[in-house]
Amino acid sequence: MQSQLIDAFKKIVGPDHVLTSKEELLCYSYDATPGFANLPDLVVAPANTQEVSRVMTLANSEGIPVYPRGSGTNLSGGTVPMKGGIVLLMTRLGSIVNIDAANLVATAEPGVIVADLNKAVEEYGLIYPPDPGTVATATLGGTVSENAGGLRGLKYGVSKHYVMGLEVVLADGTILNTGGKNVKDVAGYDLTKLFTGSEGTLGVITKIIVKLVPAPEARKAMMAVFSDLDNAGRAIAAIIANKIIPATLEILDNATIRTVEEYAKVGLPTAAEAVLLIEVDGIPEVVEKEAGKVFEVLNANGADEIRLAKDAAERDKIWAARRAALPALAKLRPTTFVEDATVPRSEVPAMIRAVNEAAAKYNVTIGTFGHAGDGNLHPTIVCDLRDAEEMERVYKAMDEIFATAIKLGGTLSGEHGIGIGKLKYMEDQFGAAGMQAMRAIKKALDPKCILNPGKLVGEC
């Protein structure tokens, strides 16, 4: 990039907040997605909405690609600067503007770490439910842009269910406000939802109004072991059919069970085809009643063993198994792909079988765990990126997994987003018309295609 242009960006955000050294550029060339990296020309870290707007105005007039980025923990290649240009680092916009307990909303800047927001609202007895595995590192802006979910998705939904309003800087620097604090608000197109999950391709989010909910008073966790995967599938369906919506309903498949047990020794039966981990939360009396009902349902559907957590320590032990799933799998091999193919919950056993078949067919190692209750599975493929032959098999297995998910009426992504990693499958899910509609939106808001170009809807 010409030095005059770099100087112009330095003038906007201050010289200390434009990074140009080779080492710094290398450190912003990747995110948490294996296999994608590219050097940006510079990293620009604005401090406020006005600076973001001025950076965008200049970048737009010069046609420079801009890649908004929070902590860079996403799993879809969403923040990798594939075409060079600018990495727009949003972490300096890091304050919680206010917590409005009367209206159960909080207003925060995009650089706030999700866990910090939760700590701040905790004293009001409230929670911000989306809790991806990276809550302690991911930014609110990043999670809203990626529409992140988490363990509590079944009962509480994903990010888009909590975003009530946004301040967004458009590609040309225009500052736009969407939504607000109104619980009921049906005026106009729902631009808030449009920008939420748009992965930085439509605008740069600079302020976020989120809905908060009362923290559950009580929780009860249990674990059920199944020697037959189909019984586990039937139990999942039966729990919901009995009108109980657990906060969390997780599944570990056999490959994951074996790996977790080897690594963490938490007492999982290694022969089991599936383990379900369930937590109900809410008002104490209701929790007791629901836990009892879940126990009955598990029993009636062929659970070989059910462990009910009697206290906090036992609850911790149950969740230790789930927490160990990713680290245990990740330790097997150097490279770890965490996918998030999602299917209607009734299809969970079929999906797990298809993943196992793909693993066997292409001789790759895949452990599947995830949010069984909402059908959002994490087939986790461990391999070595440096082995080209192995990677060819890995990508073939992935193709098959995503094709199956779509065939079962599912979706490419339950909570990680599309980015560049899953771009090639988009047309399979949306068809030509769907893609055309999305590209039309992209072009209307970002005519020069400078915002996170090449991602989500591809070239435009």
Partner: protein, 428 residues
Amino acid sequence: MSKDKALLADIEDAIANCMKCGNCMEVCPIYKELQNETAVARGKLALIEAVLQGRSDISAGFDKRMAMCVSCKACTAKCPCGVKADELILRGRQAAVKARGLHPVKKYVFKLLANRTLFDLALRMAGLFGPLQMKKLPGNLAVVARFPMPGLDRRRVLAPFAATPLRSRYPETITVARPKMKVAFFTGCTINYVYTDIGQAVIDVLKANDIEITLPPLQHCCGTPVHMSGDADLARLFAKHNIETFERAGADYIVAACGSCAEAFKLEYPELFRDDPVMHARAEKLAAKTFEISEFLVDVVKFRRDNLGEVPSTVTMHDPCHMARGIKVTGQPREILKAIPGVKLVEMKQPDRCCGAGGSFSLANYELSRKINDRKIADIAATDADTVATSCGSCRMHIIDGLVQNKQDRRCLHTVQLLAQAYAAGKG
């Protein structure tokens, strides 16, 4: 293969294990302050990876980024993939030393440090003439510079060099009436030349437990500062010297009163000689009988509790990084504190979070290490303890500096000093 790449080739597999999840961002004290990806382990390992892939080389910038680490090991403890990031960053430093040489100031200091006699003379002189350049502050063992000195922030509060080093105050062997064992005390530089009060407390406490003490006169710096700067060859010289010295001492146990010094004997020395089976075996043998003082008192000696007098104070505990995540000793100092009548232990938030000292890191990056330390001081203040107990001279110095800078009237002591006070009170 390029020369730079060859220097890192043996850690290529270890680097490939980083899955770039970025969980290290949560715990890295430097990233917390700088918010720059080059500051966190994921970024540093990515730079090493770039050299290995031929996309970059061991540049001045590489060297600078590798140096920007307090070696607190928080990233390693957090890593879901089990990547030992702190060790890999150290390997990055070693490669930088090989490719680019040591920083000229460090080269000069280490040259002095390597010569035991000269080093001893220099620090004795500093003790004698220190008052000419350092002004004493009331209360704590604390001084500030009277005039600007290269490499030292003038605001910074240091500890004065002792007029007489610890080991010159005692005979080589300190006997007791009915010795139940003999311990060789590795004082380390900070305790010998600066915080002699800690050394004295160690000796008093061991004596109170009927333990004979030897202070091997030829003992030398443990080598950690050199090792942490990436000069492995020089670190091996220090290690070899100390191994020989303490083998000759013929004691039942070796005791150190500093997490980093104890870690050098227990973990670093065997690691430094991993390619030399003979030296490795000798290092392992010494490692097995080396203990940090609180670990020794609780696990080996089962220290006397029947003659402890009252030490009325509210104490909060700071766990040095190399205690908590190096030799993993955190329970024992607390057990000592809890045994002392009159001591009320109030835990601070994140007691094992780095205090920002990081050995020579705080000399080169005072502003930054001050910011990290200010968080620690705020956590200390929130407990309203009158005393901070810790197990490392370097932490103690940095915390005292932080207390003075933040105008906090609290003292910072080594845990063993409180125990020594309790034995003294018990006699009265």
